[in-house]
């Protein structure tokens, strides 16, 4: 495939990415820069932050104010949550997940990472690779983000020194090697920048002529879209069954539409399919999107499937291609990030929601915990799990789930854990092979 075709394929696509770092690293300034230099910030918003900047006695406009949080957060001087921002370049629409970077916010980083296809990891050029850099990189890897951009910021404070840039790059790559960050085809790019002055974000500037690589925005524009880089098996969880038999229209009397989103892979009319967990087979009779009939459907498309045979299918069942059928399981191993202030209790029964399906689940064995700062395994003492803890856990399930390893499929390899008493989402799980 030629380069030109490649860039055409990205035209008008959408990319979700996240930024990791603390306010001190210039994360808010970087986001402000991206929004400002792509002309996403409109005059009234700018006037507002100009006024606030002046009020706080600053000489120039503080772009980090663009991502200033809620009043509740400002009062407490902390950021408590993931915020989503949007900008568009005309060739791509971007959704930024902006998560606070401190240690106690592992759960927010995991949340932001879950939908991200690329992570920008910020490093302060004066400080180099820190514990938090390791933590962010480990979490990006854990949650399966395929593209890493290491943005070495504040180059203005180290005299735009190429030697400093190279030194940090080398030390990051050593650490990346240790944790196997480049496994699974994950790529790592390094960009020297100054968020404050806007160098190498949207504009190159003229202070770092020694750097010939892409700017941050050029990297964002050139990353292949999600799901485009490897072959994934067709997975179609049924969300809703459409049976308009009471309709006046007699042609609709026997209509049975299975509605859902193609979580991965592709499907075409005539393909042989298997319905899980029953294992009954059939063929695709038709694919519809609203009133439109499609010959085939691709990943992430929400469609309605009609099958050749009359099969009893309900919400939570999964339709797959017969040449790649996952085994329904009643036990699974997963890496779990605990999200709730109430610790995990091995004595309790939880609900696992996986695709459009739910099952009661009991905690079996907790094999080990992970220290996110050193990325080493720790023994799981006592069997509890506190907020922000990450551990490898075995669950026993009341209902079979049709899972894939998370490494192979982020949609069918992921689940959330719900506390039945409060209905809160208390954990996030990634299926281990």
């Amino acid at each position: 495939m030629s380069r030109q075709e490649n860039s055409l394929a990205h035209n008008d696509s959408l990319l979700r990415f996240m930024t990791c770092g603390s306010v001190d690293d210039g994360k808010s300034t970087l986001i402000g820069r991206l929004l400002y230099d792509t002309k996403t910030i409109l005059t009234d918003t700018l006037t507002q932050i100009e006024r606030t900047s002046q009020k706080r006695g600053m000489e120039s406009v503080d772009l980090s104010l663009l991502t200033d949080g809620l009043q509740a957060e400002r009062e407490q001087g902390i950021t408590i949550d993931v915020a989503y921002r949007y900008f568009s370049t005309g060739t791509r629409k971007y959704i930024i997940a902006d998560a606070p970077g401190h240690e106690q916010y592992t759960r927010n980083m995991v949340t932001a990472a879950s939908t991200a296809h690329l992570a920008i990891i910020l490093i302060d050029a004066r400080k180099g690779v820190l514990t938090q850099t390791r933590r962010h990189s480990y979490l990006a890897q854990l949650v399966g983000i395929p593209h890493i951009v290491v943005a070495i910021n504040k180059m203005d404070l180290v005299d735009y020194s190429q030697a400093e840039f190279e030194r940090i790059r080398t030390s990051y790559l050593e650490f990346a090697e240790q944790i196997g960050l480049q496994r699974n085809g994950r790529d790592i790019s390094f960009v020297p920048m100054s968020a404050l002055n806007g160098d190498m974000i949207v504009d190159r500037g003229d202070v770092m002529p020694w750097y010939e690589g892409p700017t941050i925005l050029e990297l964002l524009e050139s990353v292949p879209p999600a799901h485009s880089e490897r072959n994934e098996s067709f997975r179609f969880p049924v969300q809703f069954v459409c049976r308009p038999h009471a309709s006046d229209d007699h042609e609709l009397h026997d209509f049975r539409g299975f509605m859902g989103r193609v979580e991965s892979g592709e499907i075409a009319t005539g393909d042989a399919v298997t319905v899980l967990p029953s294992g009954i087979t059939s063929r695709v009779k038709a694919i519809q999107l609203g009133n439109t009939v499609l010959e085939h459907a691709i990943t992430e498309q929400s469609i309605t499937l009609l099958l050749e045979d009359e099969i009893d299918i309900s919400r939570g069942d999964m339709i797959v291609k017969s040449d790649s059928v996952p085994e329904p399981v009643k036990q699974l191993n997963a890496m779990v990030c605990w999200l709730s202030e109430t610790p995990l209790s091995s004595a309790r029964t939880y609900i696992i929601r996986h695709t459009a399906r739910e099952s009661k689940a009991k905690v079996g064995n907790i094999a080990y915990k992970i220290d996110v700062n050193t990325t080493t395994q720790l023994p799981a003492e006592g069997g509890g799990l506190n907020m922000n803890d990450i551990a490898s856990i075995t669950f026993k399930l009341a209902q079979p789930l049709m899972i894939d390893p998370y490494e192979l499929n982020r949609a069918t390899g992921s689940f959330i854990i719900i506390d039945e008493t409060t209905n809160n989402t208390v954990g996030a799980g990634m299926v281990q092979a």
């Binding site: 495939m1 394929a9 990205h10 008008d12 696509s13 959408l14 409109l42 005059t43 009234d44 200033d68 949080g69 809620l70 009043q71 509740a72 957060e73 949550d81 915020a83 989503y84 921002r85 949007y86 568009s88 791509r92 629409k93 759960r107 927010n108 995991v110 949340t111 939908t115 790529d187 292949p224 485009s228 880089e229 490897r230 072959n231 969300q239 809703f240 459409c242 308009p244 309709s247 229209d249 209509f255 539409g257 509605m259 859902g260 989103r261 592709e266 999107l289 609203g290 691709i298 992430e300 498309q301 929400s302 695709t355 992921s414 959330i416 719900i418 209905n423 809160n424 989402t425 996030a428």
Partner: protein, 311 residues
């Protein structure tokens, strides 16, 4: 880097697919949802998305409008016409009735009624036992919305507590609620104003006429364009000019359509969707900054109203 699967959804197709997925999750997880429909552009997009999500079946939820009584006739007529075309059930509950019941007390007769919608909405939720309200809010609208969940949890007083929201990972939504509690579902959370207009253009959606450039009597009040002498469905005329104000006839359009007393038009000659798309691409003022007279009081006024149960 090799590209195996060349086909990728365009950004509008992706947003559409995500919204359909969310609507189907609401239908699958909630026992008695309702779709809030005002006749405005965002809720008109959601109706099209619901058609794509559920046809040839009927919508698995009724439509409901919380009417402040201060709405443009064109919008109310359009609302009724659209619901009839779709053959879906439309429930209307009005702030006027809450005033009669005494649950809404106005400080003055011409006070903006937007914030009082919350009371009427909560009364309707209780009357019908709705466990989920689907709405057209977008995260790009306002700072307080940037952290909003797609499935947003409200307690039995309809309150939004930013510290008590459920983490939302992957596309796994948790719309569970206990009796009396409520989920607000926002299928177009990830859309921007531009996306909405591009979708309207692509889907050739009809809109109330006041979205397009038209001539209208206005006065300038505190730098804002205030439309005046507007007849209501009830026959009453509201927004009368104050003494000393000069009435100007100006070509304007509305970027957002809400309660008459707090929605301002913008000067515009965009008389087609295509021209509006172009205008949106080059505008220098945000949708709310230009048009909402009620968000300007304080930086955090939206956050405050959301905590009180506002949509």
């Amino acid at each position: 880097m090799t590209t195996l699967n060349q086909q990728t959804l365009s950004h509008l197709d992706w947003l559409e697919a995500e919204a359909i997925h969310i609507l189907r999750e609401v239908a699958g997880q909630c026992s008695n949802p309702v779709l809030l429909f005002s006749g405005g552009k965002d809720s008109l997009c959601i109706l099209r998305l619901a058609e794509k999500a559920f046809r040839p079946g009927r919508f698995p939820f009724p439509l409901m409008h919380i009417d402040t009584g201060h709405n443009y006739q064109e919008v109310i007529n359009f609302r009724d016409q659209r619901a009839a075309e779709l053959g879906e059930r439309l429930i209307v509950r009005s702030v006027e009735d809450s005033i009669k019941r005494g649950s809404v007390v106005l400080k003055s007769p011409d006070e903006p009624r937007n914030k009082h919608q919350s009371v009427t909405l909560l009364e309707a939720i209780e009357e019908f036992g709705f466990d989920c309200c689907i709405g057209g809010a977008r995260r790009d609208e306002e700072k307080a919305r940037a952290k909003e969940r797609i499935m947003s949890f409200r307690d039995e007083f309809g309150q939004w507590d930013p510290k008590n929201q459920r983490p939302e990972l992957w596309n796994l939504y948790n719309a569970r609620s206990h009796k009396g509690e409520n989920i607000r579902a926002f299928p177009i959370s990830n859309w921007t104003e531009m996306d909405v207009w591009q979708y309207i253009e692509r889907e050739q959606l009809g809109l109330p006429s006041i979205y397009f450039a038209h001539n209208r009597d206005i006065v300038m009040r505190n730098d804002a364009i205030v439309p005046v002498n507007i007849p209501l469905v009830s026959g009453e005329i509201i927004n009368q000019p104050k003494a000393g104000e000069d009435i100007i006839n100006m070509q304007v359009r509305f970027r957002t359509v809400g309660d008459i007393t707090c929605t301002a038009p913008v000067p515009s000659d965009a008389d087609s969707v295509n021209k509006i798309v172009l205008e949106t691409a080059t505008t220098t003022i945000t949708e709310r900054g230009a048009t909402r007279l009620d968000d300007q009081t304080s930086d955090a006024s939206m956050e405050q109203r959301k905590k009180e149960g506002y949509f």
